[in-house]
Symmetry: C2
Subunit: 669 residues, 2 copies
């Protein structure tokens, strides 16, 4: 569901277009506008200036850079440089600890290259599209909805002559943009005379463009494949094995971290909408009749910003809710969904996301696929607005059923009854003999397909056989229709004793856009403080130790051998303790060296100004303490492992003042 | 260089075919055969049986399974299931610790989708091919060299009537297989009457098939791209930024872990030759005039199996060498290469690779690209023979030069001289004024291209300008030729004082095929031991704790509440300590539960048979000790973190015997 809410739900199944979603959606849009800080041009300007400061620092310090820059780059592709790569590795390691390890999830690792049949079953081949228009002269492509959106926004922001009716019309379009059909989009583009932004040439009618990168598997050229647009399908197709691995017991969750690919028409907004990105997805399989969660009480008392459907439709803002209450009152559909919302909240805030700029927004009815029971997005506010970073959806049994139907392999679970139960049930009894005579080698496939019929299909077949004596029947595994005659199968309602119940599990899917989370984290951790020079602003990334790319730096105060020896000794101890760090022997001034490491968010700095004890400095408070050389690695480990905070340890050690350092330095040299 | 030694070196530059490599290669092949254990049919049978036992266990316990199995699978694509995925995560975490952290490498993370221009520069678009033949009737594709190889091997193994001359001929072909041209391969296939193995139909002539998965970037269909066949190019194109990040200092290393893709014609050998795989690559950039390594003394005394070129050519076997000596005697080209060979040895053996089935084989002259200074492969012996798992190559300046030439961006380093040096040097001085008049907006590109000329190019231009007054000159960044006239540039040999030296760094590239290492690790760790039933063989993966997918299991001895309470308490303590574990409450017999966890390589098992102390059992020795409940998590952590071995701790605690357990159990219940 992530990163492209409407498209990805559309991609997995046709979402019925509700005939009148517009009023509701408009209300929702307006409420979201109202919830935003005063959206004047000044506020937009501030946001822009802030973003420039952050992204300049990020690119200059190689957190990320456009990929293939020496060749001019490729839109929507970015490289993580050393500090960005370390932040990403830390975020993923914490994700694995917080979800996979603590919840005992089954982690899998599936390829990106995916054969067409899988993505045909999931709906991506037919429906994972954006509407595109082409410049009729140059052939340049644009997303149709982007052009219409930009046009409306521009009018609303810059056209002072706009009548209230026109303004309402443009606001309405912005609210329903995601619901417009190709025809509706095309009509609006024509009506407003929208042209290609670069050339002012006329535009083609909108038409769907599939967002998957297509390729061909093997040398024959006959096996089309795609780069997966999400990691979830790899889990669904393995359901049977994973269920077995889990001792044929529900509930259980499988998880996957990996690359996903979407061939965006026109990538925008830096790391937020890219053509290749890392997803971390969980598929938690449950009995649809019992969506309780054994650990729900662990999150029961959490309170955070939630934005339920009703609030949105009533034009109100997000509000602080208790997750236990939200589930018990039915705002959140079930315990398992509520549990994951709580766990996602803990995950994001522990990473360093500001809890006041994080909300869980429920999908409106027109945003959800018809099969979904309930969906909530973790949205994080950054300079681009509220960004969907995690989607948490109860997708019911849709995905497993889709693959079951397409592959002919039953993807279902069983519940053994303590006592057998008597039920009236439709029993399908194929005649092996007659099928064998009629279909020979294909007998097994036909038989399995007959047995796999749903109740409705079987009843339809029964009445057809009774009236016409034979019926055409599609066998997916054969890829064709066969003729079934009356003597080949008997279909009857029978009273039966059942010892177990078979069912297709529901799946609750938390899906994390790692790049989006990281970008928002960059913005939330970034601040500036005055430097020594007038007007000088120093950049700081106030990362929690958990995600900081480097935990600690070691500087000899001056370039003399005995300090360098101590610095190397400390470095060795830090390496042994598994603490990522750098030694800076450049001999720059200490102030310059602190500024450089503050800018990549290093929490602690060790200055070697003595051969027996050293200065340890905290990035955010700039407080300094003196610690013995032999002890310093374990002190750093204590803070960066999260066992203690700086506030905890700083009282245990003598404070260091600049003048004290000078004295010691003098006495040592 | 990894995973496809000849092709990938070919892929980065044309490798000149040495006219007479055959004798040398035959000798090398024979020596490799001689070094192998008695290669009789019986030994082959044993290897086969062993492999079946390993791979059955691996697939049954979901270490890995064919991808998309419910749709019939896709050749060469595998999923890692939960234990396999955990092993992989552990191997990668250790790789990051051992190389990136301990060596202070700059890790980057670049996209898989790569524009054509990058892979054109690297040579992959033109030369990353295998020779393919098609079944002329069905169109089925085969690798030409595989068919010829299978034919020769089959003859050698099964044809008792083979004359010594014929046998020598087939052995010779096997030795030179990788060097045969399309024409030579085709001629042999015709001569031996080789037909399509499945249909016996005639085959087409061999022709090259590019092994990259091709796709298209963006909606226009006009920007061809590929899924990267290796991760190295992402590092090379970022050289300039990384060098700057490193304070414009050499040496430094960049590293990348990520997916790579090769559209194999006919994947074989399970995890060893697949279409998508994880690579971990290091590019260590050094001054070509100084390839010493500051930490070389750390590995100096290591001794392990090496297989230098001379040994191979002389028909001898690999031998134990001291790496310090191998470098000082010139067997290994330089210290940095030697340092990495040593570090790779430590990495692999610490993972659990058997040091007696690991050797470092030097490339023969005909295996190396012309620009390479020296190459060594870490080869691991498994049931498929000796498998190249890590390639360690000194690739000189080839890759940076290729991208520099193609992009027009200088990828070079500088060495500042302590004293300026007087040198005679070719000085190229373009006239900005004349270039501006002639090329207007393109002036800068022409100017940069002129300045970037090599000495030879410049001298050629000089003489052409002197004789003809003008010359055609290709400007890559413009994608066309321009006419340079005499007044636009002056080219002269001048005496100059130089303050620094500019040069293209050499690169030393250790490249790790993670899937191959993991598969070999599976084989090296696997053993069987007798079970209780007659003829019963129990499977064990004797993984070191470092890579074990799960570090510990917790079993209540019998299904009673007070034991389950203790088990949950221990589980919580293990989670807090960050130790991956599972609780097994199934109530199966203890023997059965041990057998199940031995089979996925869990090092330690805790049996809760008492409410105050529990039994801890070691997987390999089956020794058991008694440990207090409150202490058990820290004991497990001590062993699984590698601080202590089982042998270290077992003396600190009372031994547990089955009868003692029975007594306690009786007294407790």
């Amino acid at each position: 569901m992530l990163l492209r809410p409407l498209l990805s739900s559309a991609s997995r199944a046709a979402k019925p277009r509700s005939p009148e979603p517009l009023a509701a959606a408009t209300a929702a849009f307006l409420s979201r506008m109202a919830a935003a800080p005063a959206s004047s041009a000044a506020a937009a300007g501030n946001r822009e200036a802030f973003r420039v400061a952050v992204t300049n620092t990020l690119e200059r310090r190689l957190f990320y850079v456009p990929s293939f820059k020496i060749y001019g780059g490729v839109a929507g592709l970015y490289d993580y440089g050393p500090p960005g790569c370390a932040v990403k590795a830390n975020v993923l390691a914490f994700w694995r600890q917080h979800f996979v390890l603590e919840e005992g999830m089954l982690e899998v690792d599936c390829p990106c290259v995916t054969p067409e049949v899988v993505l045909k079953a999931s709906g991506h081949v037919d429906k994972f599209t954006d509407l595109m228009v082409k410049d009729e002269k140059t052939g340049t492509c644009y997303r149709a909805d982007h052009l219409l959106k930009d046009f409306c926004k521009d009018k609303l922001e810059k056209d002072n002559t706009l009548s209230p009716e026109k303004a309402a019309e443009f606001n309405h379009i912005l609210a329903v943009l995601d619901d417009l059909s190709a025809e509706q989009l095309g009509a609006k583009i024509k009506e407003y005379g929208i042209v290609a932004p670069d050339t002012k040439n006329p535009l083609s009618d909108p038409y769907p463009f599939n967002l998957m990168f297509q390729t061909s598997i093997g040398p024959s050229g006959l096996s089309p494949g795609y780069m997966r647009p999400e990691t979830a399908q790899g889990i669904f197709v393995n359901f049977k094995d994973l269920y077995y691995y889990n001792g044929n017991k529900l509930p259980f969750a499988a998880a996957q971290i990996g690359q996903a690919f979407r061939n965006e028409i026109s990538p925008r907004q830096g790391l937020l909408r890219v053509r290749e990105f890392t997803l971390a997805e969980i598929e938690h399989f449950v009995d649809p009749e019992d969506k309780s969660h054994p650990k729900f009480r662990d999150v029961l008392d959490l309170e955070f910003l939630m934005f339920p459907r009703e609030q949105q439709l009533a034009g109100k803002s997000a509000m602080k809710l208790n997750i236990g209450q939200a589930v018990s009152e039915g705002t959140v559909n079930n315990e398992t969904l509520g549990y994951f919302i709580g766990r996602v909240y803990l995950f994001l805030t522990q990473l360093g996301i500001d809890k006041d700029r994080l909300r869980f927004r429920q999908h409106l009815p027109n945003e959800m696929a018809h099969y979904a029971a309930d969906c909530w997005d973790a949205e994080i506010e950054c300079s681009f607005g509220w960004i969907e970073c995690v989607g948490i959806a109860d997708r019911s049994a849709y995905d497993l059923r889709a693959h079951s139907d397409k592959s002919g392999v039953a993807l279902e679970a069983h519940e053994k009854f303590a006592e057998p139960r008597e039920v009236e049930k439709l029993v399908i009894t194929p005649s092996k003999k007659e099928l064998g005579l009629a279909f020979k080698g294909n007998q097994r496939m036909v038989l399995e397909a007959l047995e796999a019929m749903s109740e409705t299909e079987a009843l339809n077949m029964k009445s057809a056989l009774e009236s016409k004596g034979e019926v055409e029947f599609k066998v997916c595994t054969l890829g064709k229709d066969v003729t079934i005659k009356k003597n080949m199968v008997s279909i009857n309602m029978e009273k039966k004793k059942e010892h177990q119940r078979k069912f297709t599990p529901s799946v609750i899917e938390p899906s994390f856009g790692i790049g989006r989370i990281i970008y928002c984290l960059f913005e939330h951790c970034f601040y500036q403080r005055p430097g020594k020079a007038e007007d000088e602003q120093l950049n700081v990334f106030g990362f929690p130790p958990l995600v900081a790319p480097i935990k600690c730096t070691v500087f000899p105060l001056v370039k003399i051998e005995k300090f360098e020896v101590v610095a190397k000794k400390i470095s060795k101890a830090l390496t042994t303790a598994g603490i990522s760090h750098i030694i800076d022997m450049t001999g720059n001034t200490i102030g310059k060296r602190y500024a450089r490491t503050d800018e990549i968010g290093v929490p602690l700095a060790i200055t070697v100004d003595n051969t027996t004890s050293v200065t340890v400095r905290d990035r955010d408070s700039k407080d300094q303490i003196r610690v013995e050389v032999d002890e310093v690695a374990s002190v750093v480990k204590e803070v960066t492992d999260g066992q203690s905070t700086w506030a905890d340890i700083m009282w245990r050690y003598p404070a260091h003042t600049a003048s004290a350092a000078d004295e010691e330095e003098a006495s040592e040299t």
